[in-house]
């Protein structure tokens, strides 16, 4: 897990613009979970077909196909969110490849793949970013996003708005990463 710190940041960075809302974070979390499930399924199917050197290319083709199906399904279920998030469905496929490519496709290994802790990290990060950046919590709906305000009416959100921007998010990601390392070092020291 300690080694996953840099990997997490590298996978999260392309998704930074899209993780500004919990609603978006939830959608991307489901997308990455589907990639994970589809990845396991296609890997097993392709392994049984014994394709030889064509195997990795076919796996990537299946991943691209899965991204396309997810994008089309999102357009059907949440058309307004899909309009905003469509390019990021394909970007999350890249993040997925980064996460599973470590240890030469850890989907095959029996160790806990780094993608599993990445999923709650993505959700917590987008929730934290939305709370500190705009003082709201949002959920996806067919008409867009439903926002629940945590700030009292009349609060000037401009004071906190910076934390919702991409720059603020990168600083937040750095602080979270540092806090995580401190925690891991302390817990490791005690045990």
């Amino acid at each position: 897990m300690k080694k996953n710190n840099g990997l997490f940041l590298f996978s999260l960075c392309p998704l930074i613009p899209a993780t500004s809302r919990l609603a978006y974070g939830l959608v991307l979390t489901v997308v990455i979970l589907v990639f994970y499930g589809a990845g396991l399924l296609f890997r097993e199917l392709i392994r049984r077909m014994k394709p030889g050197p064509a195997g990795p290319a076919i796996e990537l083709l299946c991943l691209a196909g899965t991204a396309m199906l997810l994008s089309v399904t999102l357009e059907g279920l949440y058309p307004v969110i899909a309009l905003a998030l469509s390019p990021y469905i394909y970007v999350s496929a890249f993040s997925f490849i980064v996460l599973v490519s470590v240890d030469s496709f850890s989907l095959r290994s029996r160790q806990r793949p780094p993608i599993l802790p990445f999923i709650p990290t993505l959700m917590i990060f987008s929730a934290l970013r939305e709370i500190v950046g705009s003082g709201t919590v949002s959920l996806p709906s067919s008409a867009g996003i439903v926002e629940f305000s945590l700030l009292p009416p009349g609060t000037d959100f401009q004071i906190i708005a910076f934390w919702g921007t991409a720059g603020g998010a990168l600083i937040l990601a750095g602080v979270c990463s540092w806090l995580y390392r401190v925690l891991v070092t302390r817990i490791g020291g005690r045990s």
Partner: protein
Amino acid sequence: MMQDKNQSAKWYLYTLLITVAFLLVAVGIRLSMARYSEESMCNAMERTLSSSLEKGVKVGKRIPIPGSGLSYIHSYGLEKGKDGVDRVVLVGITGSSGPFAAVFTCSSTGEVRFRGLVGVAEPANTRKYGISDRVIEKWESRIGELMRKAGEKQ
């Protein structure tokens, strides 16, 4: 040698079949959800337009814009236009706080105006969602240019 060639031809065929299968499933999903998706999108746009244009505004049928790319710009007719507005354009725009869907109107004179964000609690409060005036101006000019080119093509 011959066996190797047969083997690679077999995998080329499988790759083609997998691609066709994915495309067929995607077309199936799109066709089965198209109506629900269009209705949701139109309702969301009408909500934004009602607060900025006029109450009870009705978004009509989709009008394709030649040369607008794949699916990131959607254009619709307006059944009850006001101030010469005859078309509504829905685009995904990205500001400093992430991507959002925004609605613009186009009039018969070629004027493009931003009407608000779609699917958010405060559609007119663009600053809250990190969308600056500069981003809006850029999109207004881009849509205007696109409409002008589409008009020339037709």
